[in-house]
């Protein structure tokens, strides 16, 4: 497999490099990378600004929050603008296509909602600081890099930027024991899984001689590689570990409940939506392009992983009394549905992944925002029972929460319904009949635990937990309304997203 390329004599090496690698980024390159540039610059600026503002407590959270929102808005516009310049950037490190743009917009949108839902939270925990917002921005930079990466180096670095920032955010309230524990677990296990991913990258590099996705794909598709398929398979297996861990697919889902439970609620909202969507995006891109030619090797495992993920998530969620933990298991279950679409490995499957992740991000962030609002200082009220009577005490909050729960269940007219519909349609198109049947059965089981929340909210007498409940703050209120509106739009007029998703899943060829 390794060609015997003759290497130039040292004397010529530099001259050769000067000519071959004479690379100056063009203006278009910068435009394609503009969203990341905007966010990085502003994140750095925040670090300076934090120093300037010092401990001036009044309104600091507002200043940073608004600035972050403005930055993300600018980055969002930059994404749209960059979409007009499709193609490779920076010597093929990045690829700007519809798929990348879709996920860039998604993760930036998730960031905005997460920031909106943290105003009140940071204030009541006395933890308003520019670092929080800078970390969110940097994490989004990492996610944007991931979803547009065309190179395993970029995938790896983007993943690390996103993850390391999230590790810190998970432990942001450092005096809280649960935060510490979440951060430590997430950090140690995350780095552990990343080592597997890296080992896999090393193997695919050794086997194919490249780390570029398209080159690897071409290598696997065109050359007679019969004798080293086992090498490629090993590489794929090791990389699978890394990605499956990040998307919390079974059997690598174990970290998620502990970490989601322990992290501050707005951070959980953020990391269960943004980094997860980005990880799925890169997972799909790597396995559908680079490892696309050996799909029959990894597809059976995705099949079983999807089933296992759904079953574990749904059945474990049945037993939970802590609502953050319940939502954590539910997000595992939803990862399982997405895995079903990946197992379908066709174009509809990819657009189903995109659609579902958008719907999932909206409803998930909405649900966690409700938890952020409800939990009170120190996250005292996080049990399902504490929600008793919310329906009468705060009808609007409860109604919006109900929309998210119904969307989780997959009731028509919500995004969750169409998400599931497309996923199972894609699976059936790919002849995955049993997986679809079992998946649908799973979603029938899942109805039970979401329903329990609804019942508690609407049909039980308010308890003492209602006494100290503050009215909905503006930030969370905006988050909830925006997510609910998005969920309903996806449910009532899915064509808006779907058309785009279908056209941009064309990278599969």
């Amino acid at each position: 497999m390794w060609g015997s390329q003759s290497w130039l004599q040292p004397a010529f090496q530099l001259a050769y490099l000067m000519t071959m690698y004479n690379f100056m980024p063009s203006g278009d390159d910068y435009i394609r990378f503009l969203p990341e540039i905007i966010m990085s610059v502003m994140g750095t600026f925040f670090m300076v600004l934090e120093g300037i503002l010092g401990d001036k407590k009044e309104g600091k959270g507002l200043i940073f929050g608004h600035l972050t929102l403005a930055t993300l808005l600018a980055a969002l516009l930059a994404c749209m603008y960059a979409n007009g310049f499709p193609g490779n950037a920076f010597t093929g490190m990045l690829i700007i296509d519809g798929y990348g743009t879709f996920f860039r917009v998604l993760v930036i949108g998730v960031g905005m909602l997460a920031v909106l839902s943290s105003y009140q939270y940071l204030k009541r925990e006395h933890a308003e600081a520019g670092e929080y917002h800078a970390l969110i921005l940097f994490s989004i930079v990492g996610q944007c890099v991931m979803v547009t990466a065309n190179e395993l180096i970029m995938v790896f670095i983007g993943l690390e930027v996103s993850s390391i920032a999230t590790y810190v955010l998970a432990g942001y309230l450092r005096d809280d024991k649960r935060n510490n524990e979440a951060a430590l677990k997430y950090f140690l296990l995350g780095s552990f899984a990343t080592a597997f991913l890296l080992y896999g990258i090393a193997w695919i590099y050794g086997a194919s001689g490249s780390t570029r996705l398209d080159t690897i794909q071409a290598f696997l598709a065109n050359r007679d590689v019969a004798h080293n398929m086992a090498l490629i398979g090993t590489a794929a297996a090791l990389m699978f570990v890394g990605f499956a861990f990040k998307v919390s697919a079974a059997p690598f889902q174990i970290w998620a409940p502990d970490v989601y439970q322990g992290a501050p609620a707005p951070v959980t909202a953020f990391m269960s939506a943004g980094p997860k969507a980005a990880a799925f995006a890169v997972f799909v891109r790597v396995f559908m392009t680079a490892f696309g030619p050996i799909v029959d090797r990894w597809e059976p495992f995705v099949w079983s992983s999807a089933l296992l993920t759904m079953v574990i998530g749904n059945f474990a969620a049945l037993m939970q009394s802590n609502i953050k933990r319940l939502l954590a298991y539910s997000s595992i279950a939803h990862a399982g549905y997405v895995m079903v679409a990946i197992a379908a490995h066709n174009q509809i499957g990819v657009s189903a992944v995109m659609f579902y992740l958008a719907a999932y991000a909206l409803m998930n962030i909405g649900a966690f925002a409700v938890v952020a609002h409800f939990s009170r200082q120190g996250e005292k009220y996080v049990n399902v029972e504490d929600l008793a009577g919310l329906g009468w005490k705060q009808p609007v909050t409860a109604a919006l929460f109900a929309i998210f729960l119904l969307s989780f269940i997959g009731v028509p007219l919500t995004g969750g319904f169409f998400g599931k519909f497309y996923i199972f349609k894609a699976a059936l198109d790919a002849n995955l009949i049993w997986l679809s049947v079992l998946g649908l059965l799973n979603s029938a089981v899942a109805a039970y635990y979401y329903l329990r929340i609804l019942v508690v909210m609407y049909m039980q007498e308010p308890g003492e937990s209602m006494a100290s409940l503050q009215p909905l703050s503006t930030g969370i209120s905006v988050t909830l309304w925006a997510s609910a509106l998005g969920t309903l739009i996806l449910g009532i007029y899915p064509a808006a997203i779907l058309t785009f998703a279908r056209s941009s899943s064309a990278f599969l060829k």
């Binding site: 390794w2 390329q5 290497w7 180096i153 790896f156 670095i157 690390e160 390391i164 590790y167 810190v168 432990g171 450092r174 005096d175 024991k177 649960r178 510490n180 524990e181 979440a182 951060a183 430590l184 677990k185 950090f187 140690l188 780095s191 552990f192 080592a195 890296l198 080992y199 990258i201 090393a202 193997w203 590099y205 050794g206 001689g209 490249s210 780390t211 409940p257 502990d258 439970q261 322990g262 037993m319 933990r325």
Partner: protein, 104 residues
Amino acid sequence: MTFNSVPLSWYLMLSAILFVLGIAGFLYRRNVITVFMSIELMLNAVNLSFVTFSYQLKQVDGHIFSFFVMVVAAAEAAVGLAIILTVFKNRQSLRIDDVSSMKY
């Protein structure tokens, strides 16, 4: 085989052994810091693979990849040790089995 050259597979085998020893350290050691050092060992093993493949391919790209791995390891070390510090402050313990209050 003469003493003047070593089969490529020996290097890769060494890398695999070091990687597994890293995993073993993660599974068996009970001190958080040692567990973290085991991850560093795994990353080192990966780097050896990169450099070995780079030699075989006569490309410098593998070197660059391992360079990036080092950078990431440095960043991870800073953050990881900071996290370990906060955990220690709150629990006065570095035993990894003590950090298990959230379960089921």
